[in-house]
């Protein structure tokens, strides 16, 4: 009895050790079977599950739409989509980036969706020479890391911040502005930019916490400062209740927020306080977007394309046109992306040498909230 146990134990261990040393060849794993037999892949990296899934969903679906249309049109160069779920968590992102870099068939990545994961994994994509186009990471300094592979298909906060400042000063003619950021990378960067543009008009700046629900204390502070405009740099989850709390506290200032609150969630959260708010966004209104994207999206998923959907569709299109044009390596894909110069559904897509959208084509739009609906107002000149 004891003998057999010993033998099996040792046998298993030795066998495992042998396999371990013999099977050290990760090379044979990339020749995968299945997945429709397409030669090349593009990936979407962003939150697909978890608490941030709501923000990743329009991006994923828009990329799916783009890939689907591409595969129907150009079956010879068909493309498989890899869904890389980073949950918006920067602690998970590096591993996923390593995985994508290792698979040589992946020629481009739409994402990472959030700035945090982008910062945590950008160097890995750079070292793997895998071009990425984020459709939603807007923190300005992401472009300052010297990453040649990094691109984004929307204006960063630095382009939005000054425009917001200009808008508040010139169009709204506000003398006193109260800034509130949400401590996220996105919010802090945006508020910094707006503060610079607004200069002495800023009477105070405070921060809220992500997931905060009670804004009574900050509402008191705002009320005491008696501003003309409250600019909130953050996302809708906190923006809605914040606007509501401000109104409840008797604040009469105009509530201005960025693209992060351009969501039905903001209106639901703010309820009656949403009307009269102004939203700025480096995104073209859907009805102004060219082509049939909005209609196609609705036909495929039964809902309107959410925030960043059009940008994600554009990002995917950049890669897909490359593959149609015969791009067969990451180096060629990078050349293709850098040379890309064509109209997209959200705006004209052309990248500058840092991977940003060419400054001349970025338009910041303002939107009004009227009767619980977000309606386009005008572009900021």
């Amino acid at each position: 009895m004891r003998r057999t146990l010993v033998r099996t134990l040792t046998g298993v261990a030795v066998a495992a050790a042998l396999i371990g040393t013999a099977a050290c060849a990760p090379a044979d794993k990339s020749d995968d079977t299945g997945s429709g037999g397409c030669t090349y892949k593009i990936a979407m990296m962003g939150p697909i599950t978890g608490p941030n899934a709501g923000l990743g969903k329009p991006i994923l679906e828009s990329v799916k739409l783009a890939v689907d249309q591409h595969n129907k049109k150009d079956a010879a160069h068909c493309v498989t989509l890899v869904e890389s779920d980073d949950k918006g968590d920067e602690a998970v992102a590096p591993g996923l980036a390593q995985q994508l870099v290792q698979d040589q068939k992946v020629l481009g990545v739409v994402g990472p969706a959030f700035s945090g994961p982008t910062k945590a994994s950008g160097q890995i994509f750079e070292d793997g020479a895998l071009p990425i186009i984020s459709a939603s990471a807007t923190r300005p300094d992401l472009a300052d890391n010297g990453w040649k592979t990094f691109h984004r298909s929307l204006g960063n906060d630095a382009s939005q911040g000054p425009a917001v400042g200009k808008f508040i000063k010139d169009t709204l003619k506000a003398a006193k502005v109260f800034l509130i950021d949400d401590k996220s990378e996105y919010g802090t960067g945006l508020a910094d930019q707006a503060a610079t543009a607004l200069g002495s008009a800023v009477v105070d700046r405070q921060s809220i916490q992500p997931k905060q629900t009670d804004f009574s204390a900050i509402a008191s502070a705002v009320n005491a400062a008696k501003p003309d405009v409250v600019f909130f740099a953050g996302y809708y989850a906190e923006g809605g209740p914040l606007a509501k709390a401000l109104k409840t506290a008797g604040v009469t200032a105009t509530f201005v927020g960025p693209d992060g609150i351009k969501d039905q969630g903001f209106i639901d959260g703010a309820a009656d306080a949403a009307d009269g708010s102004i939203i700025t966004c480096p995104c073209v209104p859907a009805e102004k977007a060219t082509g049939t994207f909005a209609a196609d999206y609705k036909a495929m998923f039964g809902a309107d394309a959410g925030t960043y959907g059009a940008e994600a569709y554009d990002a995917a299109t950049v890669f897909l046109t490359g593959i149609s044009a015969g791009v067969d390596s990451r180096a060629k894909m990078l050349e293709h992306v850098n040379a890309y110069d064509a109209p997209g559904v959200s705006k004209h897509i052309k990248f500058d040498d840092k991977g940003e959208i060419d400054k001349s084509v970025i338009v910041i739009w303002t939107y009004d909230v009227v009767d619980g609906k977000i309606v386009a107002r005008e572009p900021i000149q």
Partner: protein, 385 residues
């Protein structure tokens, strides 16, 4: 037979099966100890070899690797994460399993370690001393131990539950400071972490390039494994020493231990400091592996997951807590298709396992006996009552 009766008998059946399995494990352990020493060493060595070979291991037909699923995570990365968390669990086991102190804010020490590397090693930090990795890590351990002593001195006089909530508060304070303070750079965090020295040896594919980089987490896994073995060795020595016996005494009955002359406060503080030091070390490994650390990487839920993993595996027993941690953090990565329900499954599994096996999956023998005693007492009490 009513439904409740049926449920009850089913429950009893599971319980007896469970007891059988428990006795089998005990028996297996006995047989293992009866083996000739040479055999045991050979088997252990083989096991170690397998562990080191794991990131490159493929077994046809058994898709155990996390990168064998669609959109799966890099196996080397997942393994290194698990290894770092095992290190955390071993440290936490000193505090919870050996000294019996319930620490719910252990992530605080982990964060202190990670930020030490970030502050002293990253070129982006305000300190910007850019110390090499080999200097950063001792600083991380030292700072974590100091914070352990700072937290422990006033709070270790508190009773169990109060200690739990105070440590929970401490973890949350550390997290909020990380979010709000200037020097941590908040949610954007700090990048460009120093890495351990070394290049790929001759004969490998990447010969001559840096061994430790953000592009490949396998070397971090190997290094963490070495650290785990070293820490286990150290902890085992402690467990067998006067310190370990004092911990045991104060875990089982603090008043009695104190009466017998055990300096309870001093030994509790030691447990706290040593646990904190190991936590700091694992935080430092995590930060240098990721190359980036921001306040989003610290969540209180993670802290509680650590405790859950330790208790799930079997507190007090290093093998047990290791198994618990591996299960708690490997399964969700492997079965990503359940991603949406994995926390739910984890929560239900936690209830089920704890109800059926309060001593954990692989408890320490001593702990199992303590629990059996308690259960017996309960039985007698019901008979009397």
């Amino acid at each position: 037979m009513t439904l409740t009766d049926k449920l009850r008998t089913a429950g009893q059946k599971i319980r007896t099966a469970d007891e059988k399995r428990a006795s089998f494990i005990q028996g297996a352990r006995g047989r293992w100890h009866d083996l000739p020493k040479a055999w045991r060493i050979a088997a252990a060595l083989a096991g170690v070899v397998v562990l080191f070979a794991l990131p490159n291991l493929y077994i046809p037909g058994i898709p155990f690797r996390t990168d064998e699923v669609d959109g799966g995570n890099s196996f080397g990365f997942v393994l290194s994460t698990i290894a770092i968390y095992v290190l955390v669990a071993i440290g936490l086991n000193v505090v919870i399993g050996m000294a019996g102190l319930l620490d719910l804010g252990y992530i605080g020490f982990y964060a202190v370690g990670a930020y030490s590397v970030a502050l002293f090693g990253s070129p982006q930090s305000i300190v910007a001393t850019k110390f090499p990795w080999l200097i950063c890590v001792p600083i991380a351990i030292a700072l974590a131990m100091v914070s352990g002593v700072i937290l422990g001195t006033p709070t270790l006089r508190l009773r169990g539950d109060y200690l739990a909530i105070v440590t929970l508060g401490f973890g949350e304070i550390v997290r909020l400071i990380a979010v709000n303070a200037e020097f941590t750079n908040g949610t954007s965090g700090l990048g460009g972490m120093p890495t351990p020295p070394g290049t790929w040896p001759a004969g490998t594919e990447l010969e001559g390039t840096k061994l430790f980089s953000v592009n490949d987490s396998r070397p971090f896994y190997w290094l963490t494994l070495v650290l785990i073995f070293a820490v286990i060795f150290g902890v085992k020595q402690l467990e067998r020493s006067r310190v370990g016996r004092s911990w045991l005494a104060l875990r089982e009955d603090e008043d009695a231990a104190s009466l017998m002359g055990v300096a309870t406060f001093q030994f509790k503080l030691w447990a706290f400091a040593i646990g904190a030091g190991i936590g700091g070390l694992s935080g430092a490994m995590f930060a240098s592996r990721n190359g980036h650390f921001g306040s989003n990487s610290i969540t209180l839920l993670l802290s509680i997951m650590f405790v859950a993993a330790v208790v799930l595996g079997g507190q007090g027993n290093i093998l047990g807590v290791t198994v618990g941690t591996v299960l708690a953090f490997y399964l969700p990565e492997r079965f990503r298709s359940f991603a949406d329900k994995r926390d739910l499954i984890f929560g239900l599994a936690l209830i089920l396992i704890m109800v059926l096996r309060p001593q954990g999956l692989l408890p320490s023998r001593r702990r199992a006996r303590e629990l059996a005693d308690r259960r017996q007492e309960a039985k007698e009490a019901t008979i009397v009552g």
